[in-house]
């Protein structure tokens, strides 16, 4: 039995009058890959963003309920969202490189958190992150070219590399492979598997095969509800809820 990293209880999210997440409770284990699946608009991204309080940046968004990281309420007043996000990193659905060089994109997190003692250290972090993000070979000769000049898939891997450069404890990935070719996808999946040794990873994906390949736990969302949550193998072979079954067999979604 693995430790529980994040516990969410009775989470409700409202965007103004829209009720986007309805009473979701879920335990996310440490050293595990958890996949969120579900049809478009069902609230996967929204729930993911609750876990590192990214929803704070949206004015109209209201989060209720109880979310704990290592037993500590992350919506407590004493918790600094900035510290939290350093621990719970995020890769966004749309690649969003900064208008800086590739090197500075990766070095951004380590610099603001003081992770590198000197230039050589930083160089090492950058190289290691880019390698793990499966993009090192493509950019090693142009580390000082702007990150915005990369292709969509390259930008996505750059953002993955940027997120792991800060060494978070939990990595939230919102469709990290949506713009990647099979080779890069395989590399990213390998990375996810490797990250599992030290971190807990939550990944949103629209690919059933990917969820089945990389995750140990799967949560199926539908219209803001958490319909079913459990071992990935079980969800894909023997779902209990008829909605889960129709989704994974391709009848709704």
């Amino acid at each position: 039995m693995q430790d529980i990293k994040i516990t969410a209880k009775n989470v409700q999210v409202h965007y103004g009058d829209t009720h986007a997440i309805k009473d979701v409770s879920v335990d996310i284990q440490d050293n595990t890959v958890t996949a969120f699946i579900g049809p478009s608009g069902c609230g996967k991204s929204t729930f993911l963003r609750c876990l590192n309080r990214m929803n704070d940046t949206i004015d109209i968004c209201r989060v209720d309920g109880d979310i704990r990281l290592d037993g500590e309420d992350i919506y407590d007043k004493r918790v600094d969202p900035v510290q939290l996000r350093a621990k719970v990193g995020m890769v966004f659905q749309k690649p969003n490189p900064f208008p800086k060089s590739i090197y500075d994109n990766i070095a951004y997190g380590p610099r603001i958190h003081g992770l590198a003692r000197n230039k050589a250290d930083l160089d090492e972090i950058v190289e290691k992150s880019l390698r793990r993000g499966a993009i090192w070979d493509e950019v090693k000769d142009r580390l000082h070219a702007p990150g915005t000049g990369l292709s969509g898939g390259q930008q996505q891997r750059l953002c993955i590399a940027r997120a792991i450069a800060t060494e978070p404890e939990v990595l939230l990935m919102d469709e990290p492979c949506s713009a990647l070719d099979p080779i890069a996808t395989a590399q990213v999946e390998e990375l996810i598997d490797e990250l599992r040794q030290n971190f807990s990873v939550v990944i949103v994906t629209h690919s059933m095969q990917q969820a089945a390949r990389v995750s140990q736990k799967t949560a199926f969302f539908h219209l803001g509800n958490l319909v079913e949550y459990g071992e990935t193998d079980r969800i894909f072979t023997n779902p209990t809820d008829p909605r889960t079954e129709s989704y994974i067999t391709g009848r709704i979604g």
Binding site: P99, H113, R162
Partner: protein, 488 residues
């Protein structure tokens, strides 16, 4: 017939053309509008357009050109013994125009017939008294030359107007008939109207461009004219500005003025850029919805204050305040209320909303996902602003600053009231100085002769300013445009 009635007639013709064109097109297909190439009203528009537009164009051109042509021909007929310079010829011609006007008035009031006027002769009648009776007062007796010139002017104007009437009516009727005849079912009226609309738009655009070109050309020619009288190198590199000396002894060096302009603009930008930029950052990144809704319009009110009011503020509030601190009673650096600092500070205040509202728009245009990326890595708000938002917005902000700089360089009123009129090259920011714009004003106000170098220098100054601000604007637009491409 007067131009006004001509206009009314061709307008009426156009309306009639619309109705007839539409009706004729419908009739040609037996009332079944589906068989027409275009909607019936397009046939109407086509006839109205051809009846109206060419005639209207000719009318406008004619009304503008006729007086110029007639004036020139009459002036050419005045013997050279009656004037020495072109200025005197102008005086004579204005007398001629006045007498001609008086003669018109006499005909209108039935004091005299047309034939009577043609037969007038300056020696036998007291024309001045007669003209006075109809309400046209003359400065002196009417000489035979002036009278005959006025008679010629009248006669030619009358012929011209008659010709105008005939020509315009022929063109209008021609267009009308031509378009009406072609208004049959398979005529592509819609396409014709479409090209007409296009021509209209092209016309409007070229008019705007031509006006600009005209202004620039007049600047250029007058500047060349000025450099014909005054050596260019003395103007560009002269360090003394003292135009009062008549003849060759004067100094019209632009450097002190340029220095004043740049110095005051620099002070203004030093005030406006940090305050405006910080205000914009606060409004765009930190302020809540309600604060923003109140603060932004308030800030923009600053932009609506006329510059003369800023000038007043400089002269009556800021200047005396500075004198209190830096004047004879304080640090002793400042002689009077007018100084570079006074004008610069106030101009800076004027530019704050300019910088802040442009920068605010630019900062808001930075995609939210970029900020999310930074927050997602655990950056604080100010780290995000400093390291992600501002670098992303930088080109746009630079553009905004350059636009503000070109406003500062072109500003006049605040300088006249706040900085004084002394042209000098000085480093002391508390000394009175003046700028290019302020000197253009002072060179052209007062009773200067417009053909002298003292007056023409204004054009050279204007040209310098124009080049300076044009350069800044082009640079700013270039930078802003480059920045836009990044997110598209």
């Amino acid at each position: 017939m007067s131009a006004f009635w001509l206009l009314v007639i061709i307008l009426a013709l156009a309306v009639l053309g619309f109705v007839l064109g539409r009706a004729r097109a419908l009739a040609s297909v037996g009332g079944d509008r589906r068989k027409l190439h275009s909607l019936p009203s397009f046939y109407g528009y086509n006839v109205a357009m051809l009846a109206l537009v060419p005639a209207l164009l000719v009318l406008c051109l004619w009304v503008i050109l006729q007086p110029i042509v007639i004036h020139a021909s009459v002036a050419g007929a005045i013997p050279e013994t009656h004037y020495e310079s072109s200025g005197q010829l102008n005086l004579v011609m204005s007398d001629v125009a006045r007498v001609a006007e008086g003669l018109d008035e006499m005909v209108r009031q039935n004091v005299m017939t047309r034939e009577g006027i043609a037969a007038l002769d300056a020696d036998s009648t007291d024309l001045r008294a007669q003209l006075a009776q109809v309400g046209v007062a003359l400065g002196g007796e009417v000489s035979p030359t002036i009278l005959s010139a006025a008679q010629a002017l009248r006669a030619r104007s009358e012929t011209g107007t008659l010709a105008l009437t005939v020509v315009v009516l022929i063109i209008a009727a021609g267009g009308f008939l031509f378009a009406l005849r072609s208004s049959t079912g398979d005529f592509r009226a819609r396409n014709r109207v479409e090209s007409g609309v296009k021509l209209l738009l092209i016309g409007a655009a070229s008019l705007a461009i031509l006006t600009t070109i005209g202004i620039v050309l007049s600047l250029v020619f007058n500047t060349i004219n000025f450099f014909g009288m005054f050596p260019m190198t003395d103007f560009l590199f002269g360090t003394v500005w003292s135009p009062e000396g008549r003849g060759g002894s004067e100094h019209l060096g632009i450097l002190p003025l340029l220095w004043g302009t740049l110095y005051i603009s620099l002070v203004a930008l030093l005030v406006a850029v940090p305050i405006g930029l910080f205000a914009a950052i606060y409004l765009a990144e930190y302020a809540g919805k309600t604060t923003r809704a109140v603060a932004k319009p308030l800030l923009e009110v600053l932009a609506g204050i006329p510059t003369i009011v800023y000038g007043l503020f400089a002269l009556t509030v800021v200047g005396p305040m500075l004198v209190g601190v830096f004047g004879a009673d304080g640090l002793g650096w400042m002689q009077g209320a007018r100084s570079v600092m006074t004008a610069g500070l106030v101009m800076g205040i004027m530019l704050i909303p300019f910088v802040s509202s442009l920068s605010d728009d630019i900062i808001n245009a930075v995609p939210q996902t970029m900020r999310d990326g930074s927050y997602g890595l655990g950056a604080t708000q100010s780290e995000t602003v400093r390291q992600v938002v501002l670098p992303a917005a930088l080109p746009g902000i630079v553009g905004a600053v350059l636009l503000a700089a070109s406003r500062a360089i072109g500003e006049t009123m605040i300088v006249v009231m706040g900085a004084g009129a002394a042209a000098r090259l000085d480093l002391n920011p508390f000394a009175a100085m003046t700028t290019v714009t302020a000197k253009i004003v002072s060179q052209l106000t007062g009773d200067s002769d417009f053909a002298s170098p003292e007056a023409l220098v204004a054009f050279a100054l204007g040209m310098t300013l124009f080049i300076l601000t044009l350069g800044l604007n082009v640079l700013a637009l270039y930078i802003v445009r480059k920045y836009r491409e990044q997110y598209e």
